[in-house]
Each structure stands twice: as structure tokens, then as C-alpha cells.
Amino acid sequence: MTNTPTVSLKNVTKIFNPGQPNEVTALKNINLDIWPHEFVSLVGPSGCGKSTLLRLIADLTQPTEGTVQVNGKSAYRARIEQDYGIVFQSPTLYEWRTVAKNVELPLELMKYGRAERRERARKMLQLVELEGFENHHPWQLSGGMQQRVSIARALAFDPALLLMDEPFGALDEMTRERMNLELQNIWDRTGATIVFVTHSIPEAVFLSNRVVMLSPRPGCIAEIVDIDLPMPRAWEVREDPHYFELVNHLRDTLREIEGGMRE
């Protein structure tokens, strides 16, 4: 089981508008394996294709060349068989549904029975510490709470893989820090594999086993850094000299990439 990567990208190239004047090579020749229960962050300057990479794994867009596999099957099959849950930067809750009903949405589509839907929604809301908000509507919650609902929704059907596209990008600093700790907790308790897109290097280092730095035009992997800080990580890790070293190292890489972009 563990010798099948959860996500496997082989020679993946993504070209938008191929053959047209506005042709853009978003990603070029990406090779990456992500293993079960890994937490991998994708970072890089804007326009480096990190979100595109996530969307390729989610089969929301398809590669021009190369193969994307999830749990040993094609990304398409994995999507059809609901192998992953996804969280976007905006919580994307349906405003006509209550919090509990939003969490139940994927379960409804997967034809879970009513009692089980309710039970799972209750458990998931407990996991993201939103008990008591079942019957609230999305607009009655703060941004951080809304994003927690969207995480609960993504996890409601126990997917082995959680894809997160800058999930905390729109939150204020304090909420973001609390969400980081909570996400680590959720990751620990669910045992899911997480692929996490962010533009915050400190956030990536704090959360991940590995940080993948992408460089833009065309997007390719500039560096993969193992984060060998012990798990689980308390907030104090952010004062650890080794943490600083890793963050500074990644920042230097980013600066080099951005320097190269200007030339």
C-alpha cells in the first residue's frame, strides 16, 4: 500500500491555449510523488502555476502532456470515485444552505442516507470546532469560521487526499495562525494526505513535511525542501533556529527566482 504514492505526477506539462497567439506554458515537465499521510506545500511567486498544479491533481483541468495519478489510478477516475476533498481560497459555501447542509452537500451527491449524513456533518463540525453552528447560515459566520465549514465539507466523506488552494489567503493574520494549528490537528487526526498551495513560506514550513518551490514561465520545480522539524509542531516551533534556517533558505530561493524573472 505505502509503495503507491497518493499523488504521482510524471512529465506533466500544461499549456494553455496551445497553438494560439496567447499560448502560455503554465507547467513544464513536472515530476513529483506525494506519499500517504504527507503534508506537501506548493509555494512560489504568483503565476508559477502552483494552483494549476493543484487543479491538475483534482482533474479540474487536464495536462497537455504527461500523466497525473491519484491513488494509483488516473486523476479522472479518482475524481469520479471521490478520492479527494478540495478547499478553495474562498469558502464557496452555498448561501441557501445552513452550515450543516453545506457539509452534507457532497454526502447528498454520494447518496448517503439521511441519518448518516447528519451524523457525519455533526462529527465534522466537531472536528473543526463549530458545534452549535449547524443551523446558522454562512453569512452569519466570520471568514475563518466559513473556511472551517468548507474544510469540514471537504473531509465529510473521509477522502484520503485533501487539496487546499490558498485556503487561508483571505484571512487576517491572527485567524490564519489559529487555522494553521487547527489544520495540523485535523491532518493528524484524519491521517489524510494534504497538498497545500500557499504564498506564505512561514506557513508552508510550519505545516509541511516537504515544501515544493516552483519557478514561473514555464512553471517547473525549482527546489524541494524536506522540513525535518519534529511533528506535531507547537506554535513555539516558529522561534526555533532551524525553522528560521529553513524559512530563510526558501526565501533566498524565492529571491533568486524573482531576480531571474526580472532579467
Binding site: 479540474l60 469520479i80 471521490q82 464557496t92 448561501e95
Partner: protein
């Protein structure tokens, strides 16, 4: 609660009362002839005297408006759902629907009267239905297609079928658009019914009554009939608002929350 309601509507009430006072004063002060503009007091007196008759003719026209409203709205929504199912068809049809919407359909009233009979309420209902059809269809299509991109991707990530996406995302998304269309349609249906009656119709119809009384220089009668038409139009609108609040409470609560 009642105080905030009062505060909300007070400016409108003040303006209305001021306009009526000015109107009355102008008619008396400048001694405007009755056939040009009767004073509000004269109209109100006339309205009270003829109330029963006015209700009778008002109801006749209201039935035409309602009939046309239901036929036009049902067909408009149906057409929107059929076309929204196929995005390509939709994009091809929408420009035509928008063009058709700007055709002055009332111009066809005499012809439709001729087809179905001047006295037949059906001829008015058909005019109303056609007038109402296009804005309802266009708004419904907008509501079904202007869906948040992420909300749609979320559905794709769940491998949801087009039918599931239609029921669980597009339809709830379209409801506020549909109710807006109903409000437009309510006003249009009363206008459509009255104006198509101007081209002839049953003697107890509002539009026929207005043209006849005006031709006979009984302008207070015509004005009273206009008041009935206004009351029906406003009632119709308020009923739709009430239904809207009952069907999509989340939409109002959300907007209220955003205002604070």
C-alpha cells in the same frame, strides 16, 4: 421595529402628501379646467361614489393580467430551463431573446384582438403572456448561468451530474433572479392588460372604461379607474415580495447582514 419602519417610509410618505397638496393647490389656485386635470379631492370623491363599479371592472382586467402573468411566467421559466440545460444553445438563443424583449409587443394588440376576438379575455391574456415571457426567460437564464465559478468547480470535484448541478446549484442560484423577473412581470402584466384593452374589449374592462369615459369628458371617472389600476399593480407587487420572502428568506437575511 415599527419605529424603524416608520423612519424608512417617512420620506416617501412626506413626498406623496406634499405632491397631493401641491396638486390640489395648483388646480384651485390656477383654476385649471376639470377636463385638463381634476383636483385630487374631486377624484377621491368620484372614486368613493363609483367604488363598486370600479371594483367590478378592475377585477375583470385583473383576471386577464393574472392569466397572462401565469401563462407567460410558466413558459418563460420552462424555456429558460430547457435552454440552460445546453449552454451552447443558450448562448445562441439569448441575443434573440434580448432582441425580442425590445420589440413593442403591445403594437400587436389589435392583431391579436382580431385573432381571438375583441371581447375574449384570452386575447388580452396572450398579449400579457408574450410581454411577460421574455424578461422572465432572460432573467431565469441569467440566474441559471451566472453561477460562481468556484461553486461550479466544487460540483465538478464531486463528479456531480448536470442534472444534480441544475437542482442543487443553478436553481437555487436563479431564484432571486426569478423573483426579480416576477416583479417586473407583475407591473408589465397590468400595463399590458389595460393598454391592450385600449384597442377594444369587453365593456366592463378597465382599459375600455378609461377610453370611453375620457372620450365623454368624464375625466374624474377615468382618473378613478387609473387609481384602481394602480392599487391592483401595487398589491400584485407586494404579494410577490411576500412570497419571495417566504421562499428565499436566506437571500434577504444575507443582504440585511451585509448592510450592517
Amino acid at each position: 421595529m415599527s419605529r424603524t419602519v416608520w423612519r424608512e417610509y417617512m420620506p416617501a410618505i412626506v413626498v406623496a402628501v406634499a405632491a397631493l397638496v401641491l396638486w390640489e393647490a395648483a388646480v384651485r389656485g390656477f383654476q385649471i379646467e376639470r377636463f385638463l386635470l381634476p383636483a385630487p379631492s374631486a377624484i377621491v370623491t368620484n372614486f368613493i361614489e363609483n367604488f363598486e363599479r370600479l371594483v367590478h371592472i378592475g377585477w375583470f382586467t385583473t383576471k386577464e393580467a393574472l392569466g397572462g402573468f401565469f401563462i407567460g411566467c410558466s413558459l418563460g421559466i420552462l424555456a429558460a430551463f430547457i435552454t440552460a440545460r445546453w449552454v451552447a444553445v443558450n448562448e445562441a438563443i439569448l441575443p434573440f431573446a434580448i432582441a425580442a424583449n425590445s420589440v413593442p409587443i403591445l403594437a400587436f394588440a389589435p392583431i391579436v384582438n382580431n385573432w381571438f376576438g375583441v371581447d375574449n379575455p384570452l386575447s388580452k391574456m396572450i398579449i400579457v403572456a408574450v410581454i411577460v415571457f421574455f424578461p422572465v426567460m432572460i432573467n431565469t437564464i441569467r440566474g441559471l448561468t451566472l453561477v460562481d465559478k468556484n461553486a461550479l468547480e466544487l460540483m465538478h470535484s464531486y463528479a456531480a451530474s448536470e442534472v444534480e448541478i441544475l437542482w442543487k446549484l443553478r436553481t437555487p442560484n436563479a431564484l432571486p433572479y426569478i423573483f426579480n423577473a416576477f416583479k417586473i412581470a407583475a407591473a408589465l402584466s397590468m400595463i399590458g392588460a389595460v393598454v391592450s384593452e385600449y384597442f377594444g374589449g369587453n365593456r366592463s374592462a378597465l382599459g375600455v372604461f378609461i377610453t370611453q369615459e375620457a372620450a365623454l369628458f368624464r375625466f374624474e371617472n377615468a382618473w378613478s379607474a387609473i387609481i384602481i389600476a394602480c392599487i391592483v399593480g401595487i398589491t400584485f407587487y407586494l404579494i410577490i415580495v411576500a412570497v419571495e420572502r417566504a421562499v428565499i428568506p436566506w437571500y434577504f437575511e444575507q443582504r440585511k447582514a451585509e448592510r450592517h
